[in-house]
């Protein structure tokens, strides 16, 4: 039995490991969500929570019903395939009840630059400018109609 006595400290070290492992299991039981792993490597309850969130975007169809004038302009311009809400932001609330909130007008200096600032990563065919050189701080809508931006397309103000 002497061996066990002289190896006693090793059992203490092992005991420390076992304790740490039990603590790990205990914490794990608390912090890992109950529905984790039900379908895959994620929290299953997250699906319901996300589905339950209010819808923020109304979609192009919704705008078409009321803003026919703008839709007509946009249909003929180069921005025909750019969604209204890509520029105006999520407007589901406005589409549900227009009087409840009036959308603010986008700041074109920020908005247009977001898509049209020249970058090596963009396909060469995509229209791009260096905003500082191109307009020198003048708001883009001074010269371009946001809904039909091409200058020669008759869309200019």
């Amino acid at each position: 039995m002497g061996v066990f006595k002289d190896a006693g400290h090793l059992f203490r070290f092992t005991g420390l490991f076992v304790l740490a492992f039990l603590a790990f299991l205990l914490i794990r039981g608390y912090v890992v969500p109950k529905t984790f792993g039900q379908y895959g490597h994620y929290r299953a309850a997250a699906i319901g929570e996300i589905a339950g969130r209010p819808v923020k975007f109304a979609g192009h169809k919704a705008c078409e019903d009321c803003h026919t004038d703008i839709v007509d302009v946009k249909m003929k311009g180069k921005h025909a395939h750019v969604n209204c809400e890509a520029c105006h932001g999520a407007l589901a609330k406005h589409a549900d009840d227009p009087t409840s909130m009036t959308p603010t007008k986008p700041d074109t200096a920020v908005l247009c630059a977001r898509c049209h600032t020249a970058s090596a990563a963009k396909p060469t065919g995509f229209p791009q400018v260096n905003p500082a050189d191109h307009s020198n701080g003048v708001p883009c809508e001074t010269c371009h109609n946001p809904h039909s931006p091409a200058i020669d397309g008759g869309g200019a103000k």
């Binding site: 002289d6 400290h9 790990f24 490597h41 090596a120 990563a121």
Partner: protein, 392 residues
């Protein structure tokens, strides 16, 4: 676009992996290398390197404690990192790495150091006072049995732990290489040689680091450097360096001969953006120069003073070379577009969370850890403690 030449995909323009991700494999490499040097004495019975045995173990621990910090600073949500342990993802190499790290830290390094120092800890817990006494007492785990039998058991168990530790050290650092080597989409990384090259370069940097630490610490303590020990370490450094260099050249020649669709792009990168860090620093300054210097010490009989200088110089150069190698792997792999049509640049920030100053701090921090560990657990051979007289 600043620093971009040709075509880059949008997500390639900014580098995602910064200098901290360069530091990370460098630091784990030092851990693995230092441990393997320690195992030379323990398992391969190279008596000459005994004076560095304990220092190598403490160095490995100090750097291992530092190793996760660059990763934590890189993460957007560091507080979520424990989830890696709580919900293990078996098909993600990066996620499983947490277990490799923990295994190596607790089951190998801490256990081996504890077994090796247990006798000293018990003696120190009797000799010291106040807070220190408490710290040592906790470290004994409440067992003050240092009978010859128990120490003999420690010796045997320690040997086994070291034996398990060698593949574990290989695993720790091979894993880092594996994570890069298995990225199929990146031709600069994707190579089955990557883990092997990482392991050997780790040994080079770890051995060089312990040699430098031993020499400078001994100088600071105004003691004589054990030349037999340093000569032996330098010899091993030389041999392992040759293997490391051959493997790297093998990788290079293989790429050149294979010349697959990525080759033109990578070749251009090595000759332009990576020229300085890859050809000049890594290969000429950090590999060939120390190799030639170490070769000289092996074939020419140099005086002791000269040998020390040559060892110190080649040790420093080797560390620089291995750091450059990590840099060229991590940063180099992100400088070219996966379309092979363009190149970007890495601009290191100065004071951001992943900037230069943080990187410097994380390089100094392990030395502070080491200083504390050395104060707590003196590794110097001449300070071996004598047990108090029986009857204590």
């Amino acid at each position: 676009m600043s620093g971009v030449e040709g075509f880059m995909y949008p997500n390639e323009i900014e580098l995602q992996w910064s200098v901290l991700i360069v530091l990370y494999p460098f630091i784990t490499g030092l851990v693995a290398g230092a441990f393997i040097l320690a195992s030379l004495e323990r398992v391969f019975l190279v008596e000459a390197v005994k004076p560095t045995y304990r220092l190598a173990l403490l160095t490995a621990l100090a750097f291992l404690l530092d190793a996760p910090l660059p990763l934590q600073l890189h993460l957007g949500h560091p507080e979520r990192s424990p989830e890696m342990y709580f919900t293990p993802h078996s098909t993600s190499a990066m996620a499983m790495f947490g277990y490799v790290y923990l295994w190596y830290l607790m089951a190998v390094l801490v256990l081996e150091i504890w077994l090796d120092y247990r006798r000293d800890i018990v003696i120190l817990s009797r000799k010291s006072k106040g807070l220190l006494r408490l710290i040592y007492k906790v470290m004994t785990l409440g067992s003050s049995n240092i009978s010859p039998r128990s120490l003999a058991i420690d010796e045997k168990v320690g040997w086994v732990v070291t034996l398990i530790g060698i593949p574990s050290a290989f695993l720790l650092h091979g894993y880092v290489g594996f994570i890069f080597g298995s990225i199929k989409a990146n031709p600069w990384w994707s190579s089955p040689l990557m883990p092997v090259v990482f392991i050997f370069s780790a040994m080079v940097s770890g051995i060089a680091a312990v040699m430098l630490l031993y020499m400078s610490a001994t100088k600071m303590r105004r003691k004589a450097i054990d030349m037999r020990c340093v000569d032996t370490i330098a010899m091993y450094l030389f041999y392992i360096f040759i293997i490391d260099f051959s493997l790297e050249m093998l990788d290079l020649i293989h790429r050149i001969y294979e010349a697959d669709e990525s080759f033109r792009s990578l070749n251009f990168m090595v000759h332009t953006r990576l020229y300085f860090s890859h050809i000049v620093i890594q290969i000429f300054l950090g590999t060939l120069t120390p190799l030639i210097l170490l070769f000289l010490t092996q074939v020419v009989k140099l005086t002791e003073v000269l040998r020390k200088r040559v060892y110190a110089t080649s040790g420093c150069l080797a560390m620089i070379g291995i750091f450059a190698m990590r840099w060229n792997v991590v940063i180099g792999g992100q400088l070219f577009s996966k379309s092979f049509l363009g190149y970007t640049t890495y601009k290191m920030a100065l004071v951001t969370r992943e900037g230069f100053l943080v990187a410097i701090g994380l390089t100094i921090l392990p030395l502070i850890f080491l200083w504390i560990l050395v104060k707590l657990l003196p590794p110097w051979p001449e300070q071996s403690l004598h047990a108090p007289a029986p009857g204590d």
